[in-house]
Amino acid sequence: MERLFQEIALFGPAVAFNIYFAAASIPIGFIFAVFLALGKASPNPLMSRLSRGYIYAFRGSPLFIQFFMLYSLALSFNVSIWKPMGLSWFVLHPLFIGPLVLTLNTAAYTAEIFYGALRAVPRGEVEAARAYGMSRSQQFRRVIWPNLIRLAWPAYTNEVVFLFHATAIVYFALPVIGQQKDLMITAKELFERDYNAFLHFSVAALWFLAVSLVVFFLFGLVYRRLMRHMPAAPGLRFAPKWLR
């Protein structure tokens, strides 16, 4: 039992890396996703095609491959671009390129969620906004966005949890710098030492589970607040539909 607690504590610093990867990619991915979703819904055929293609490519291929491909791609530009600019250490650092790839990936998944929600925004409410003389940006800010985010929130919560899970493969694809090791690498290294799969992997799993639950709790609070205008706010359920 004591061994278990020691082990749990041992993983403490490692979980910080997983949380960092998720936390660094979620906000930018969110903003990017809004533009992608609007792009996909845009009447402009070029914009729509591009957004559609992007979303399809990143949802249709494995994140693992995306990591490998984008790292070696970035590496191949090192001599010509990053190095002269003095950005080499930064651009190719796992703590940068990791969140970058995760951002590109989650933006595609999130955009699909937002696109679905965008199409579900009640047309009448938007029409009312138009009829009262709101400009396009006012319509978006005051009517479309509040509806969209409410509709998308449950699915988005799942996406955030699964993005967090996706951080588990970052260091399988990228080099490890010094002692910067996440849950998976820590578990794997411990396992390679004493061959005790049950202990090390279970503890890593516990950490993932615990953080997932915290995310659900926090996002659930937000959801309840978002849905305060509904007579009986539906609860948030752990029911992922589209994942990586």
């Binding site: 009640p122 009448g124 409410e125 029409e127 009312a128 906004a129 138009r130 009829a131 009262y132 003389g133 709101m134 400009s135 396009r136 006012q138 005051r142 009517v143 509040p146 509806n147 409410r150 305060r228 205008h229 509904m230 007579p231």
Partner: protein, 267 residues
């Protein structure tokens, strides 16, 4: 009706809404086939006609929720600028249309209140955001409007917590609060149960008696007769008959209108 106001309105005869030769098609379906009419200050105009005759489309052309393929719309003497032709016709001046829209108070058949805002916030939204008026003043006026339509106590409730009739009255308050030159109603009671309908019709009646300029699409002939200064009967995208309620309902000339009125009374 307030006698002084009514007299003034009729004396002036200034056309607040003037529509000339509107045409509109959806794909191959020609819905409006050249419609012209004007509504003067303080006048209440009812549009009647069978389903699919183009009443809603007509009304939605006034504030350009649908852009007509040809013809013009002028509000208070100012013509709405459009460019292009046919189905590609577009609004030319976004600033102008926003300004004009904020003088047209539209009330929808299905209310279309903004679900995430309270009733009070719904009413205050357009004056604050579009007309950029001061918060304190708008709030006072909004509360007055809610009192007028009789739902003051629901100011802080959300739309989902109200009955249909209450929601429609809130929607009317929302339209009133932008201080519109003209109120536009598209079958404001047809999504309501008969009992709730009564509440809303009563509020509209009060507005008519106050001398507000209003254009309303309705399927309630009784109500059209009692509230309107002028009734327009649309048939297959054209004005088939037009006149005072007495002329239209009392001394019907068109056989089609006769048929229609007959059918309506048997509903």
């Amino acid at each position: 009706m307030n006698m002084a106001q009514a007299a003034a309105a009729v004396a002036e005869k200034w056309p607040v809404v003037a529509i000339r030769d509107l045409h509109k098609s959806f794909g191959k379906l020609e819905v409006l086939k050249g419609i012209s009419f004007a509504a003067s200050e303080g006048e209440v105009v009812s549009l009647i006609g069978s389903s699919g005759s183009g009443k809603s489309t007509m009304l939605r052309c006034i504030n350009m929720l649908e852009v007509p393929d040809s013809g013009s719309v002028a509000i208070d003497g100012e013509e709405i600028k459009l460019h292009g032709a046919g189905p590609h016709r577009q609004i030319a001046d976004e600033g102008q249309i926003r300004r004009i829209r904020s003088e047209l108070g539209m009330v929808f058949q299905s209310f279309n209140l903004w679900a995430h805002l309270t009733i009070l916030e719904n009413v205050m939204e357009a004056p604050l955001i579009v007309q950029k008026r001061a918060h304190g003043e708008v709030r006072e006026e909004a509360l007055a409007m809610l009192a007028k339509v009789g739902i003051s106590e629901k100011a802080d409730a959300y739309p989902a917590q109200l009955s249909g009739g209450q929601q429609q009255r809130a929607a009317i308050a929302r339209a009133l609060c932008i201080n519109p030159r003209v109120m536009l109603f598209d079958e404001p009671t047809s999504a309501l149960d008969p009992e709730l309908e009564v509440e809303v019709l009563r509020v509209i009646k009060v507005l008519a008696d106050e001398g507000r300029t209003m254009i309303l699409v309705t399927h309630d002939m009784e109500f059209a007769r009692s509230v309107s200064d002028r009734v327009i009967f649309l048939h297959q995208g054209m004005i088939e008959e037009e006149g005072t309620p007495e002329q239209v309902f009392g001394a019907t000339k068109s056989t089609r209108l006769k048929q229609f009125l007959n059918a309506a009374s048997h509903e």
